[in-house]
């Protein structure tokens, strides 16, 4: 027998809404202290488009957005594939040192909080 909450053929999943009132942006602010320049990011996506590990799930644009909105759960998987090759830094129109940002983020994600 199907569980009760599945009797209509679908079930209510958890809300995917971003609630900025509850967002914890402390990691974002700590990273900004180390690399203030990346606040200038325009989320244009050229970093991802040129990324050597783009096909492996590396996505700085999305990682930055999640950080800014206080969501840290996916950060590790979004930055682990990075090889620190620095191609993203070469193409960034706002000249953000993305390589250094990711490098520092990787350290912070592996540090005890």
């Amino acid at each position: 027998m199907k569980p009760a909450n599945d009797k209509w053929g679908f079930r209510a999943e958890g809300s995917e809404q971003i609630n900025l009132d509850k967002a914890d942006s402390s990691l974002y602010r700590r990273l900004l202290n180390r690399e203030p320049g990346f606040a200038a990011c325009l989320f244009c996506g050229s970093c991802r488009a040129t990324c050597t590990s783009g096909n492996e799930g590396m996505n700085f644009r999305l990682a930055h957005l999640l950080l800014q909105r206080g969501e840290t759960a996916r950060l590790k998987s979004l930055t682990d594939p990075c090889l620190l090759c620095g191609k993203c830094t070469l193409v960034c129109p706002r000249n953000v040192n993305i390589r250094a940002v990711v490098y520092n983020l990787k350290i912070m994600l592996h540090e005890p909080f």
Binding site: E16, Q17, I18, N19, L20, D21, L32, P36, G37, A39, A40, C41, F43, L65, L66, Q68, R69, R94
Partner: protein, 356 residues
Amino acid sequence: MYQHNRYQKGKPQQVAVVGAGVAGLSAALTLKKQGVGVVVFEKDESPGGHLQQWHALFPDREPAAGVLDLLKQEVSEQKISLRTQTEVAAVTPSGDKFRIETSQGEQNEFDAVLLATGFQLFDAARKEEYGYGIYQRVITSAGLEQRLGHGGTGLTVNGRPPHRVAFVHCVGSRDEKVGNHYCSKVCCVTGVKQAITIKEHFPQCEVLNFYMDLRMFGTGYEELYREAQEKWGVMFIRGRVSEASQMYDGTIQLKAEDTLMGRPVRATVDWLVLLVGMEPEKRAQLWARSLGLRTGQAGFFSSPEKFLHPSLTTVNGVFTAGACTGPASIPESVSQGRAAAISVLEFLAKKDEAGK
């Protein structure tokens, strides 16, 4: 330079300028300095137009009062004939002249007419979903300017600094639902400028800007946007706020789609600022239409030769300048006013030549 009127052969020529905003005053000053008689009609009590309500100007955040004072000073030095609290009721061609009738019933004839009737701000109450005019802490960008003086005391909430302020871009612009399909152009940079001023007053306050596109077209605008991000930590979220509602404590809760994340977003703010756009001055349009002037799709005056002679209208002898021709910044309005004055001088010189 243009000295037609210093060597004028016929009778002294008179020009009517309708509107004493920055465009009208700049045009009047240029005409007067070239020796032409000018009368400026203004429906308000004092000259300066919308500049009078502004606290500081983008992109340098220069105090608006200083710019206004310099302009007024020059107007008084040049002894410009300024008719305040005088609304123009009708402009009618009369032989080779134009008869101007004021709301007081007074009539005078002029050799040329320069319209600098400006704009009116979009009435934010028309976007009902934002609750302007219903919720106390939903204000417009113009209302915010008035609160930005005196260290921003107009923004404190029960004596404490605001925790969070949000801006909504494109209110009454790029919106078919209110009949305004066009971009008002100056609101983007105004939102960035105002966001920075709030951070200057209240460094701990979080500032969010909800935008559809950010159009930083002018000199120094993109740099200001970058400064807002880098130096002041202003957060820009791409997505149009869909609704605002007032909470029990007077704060405003808003909902939007965070389009870069592809997910809905919710936030509670102390102030919601609506960046209202520009609309053509409706009353000026009424008699302008009766004169047979062409207006573009959005209702702003448009020139039949918009590339090379932007101040011309479809009526020979009637000219336009400033935001009555489309959304314009203050320096643009000044340039347009001065350029239109040159077109008027060329017209008067021809008229003088023909009439001697």
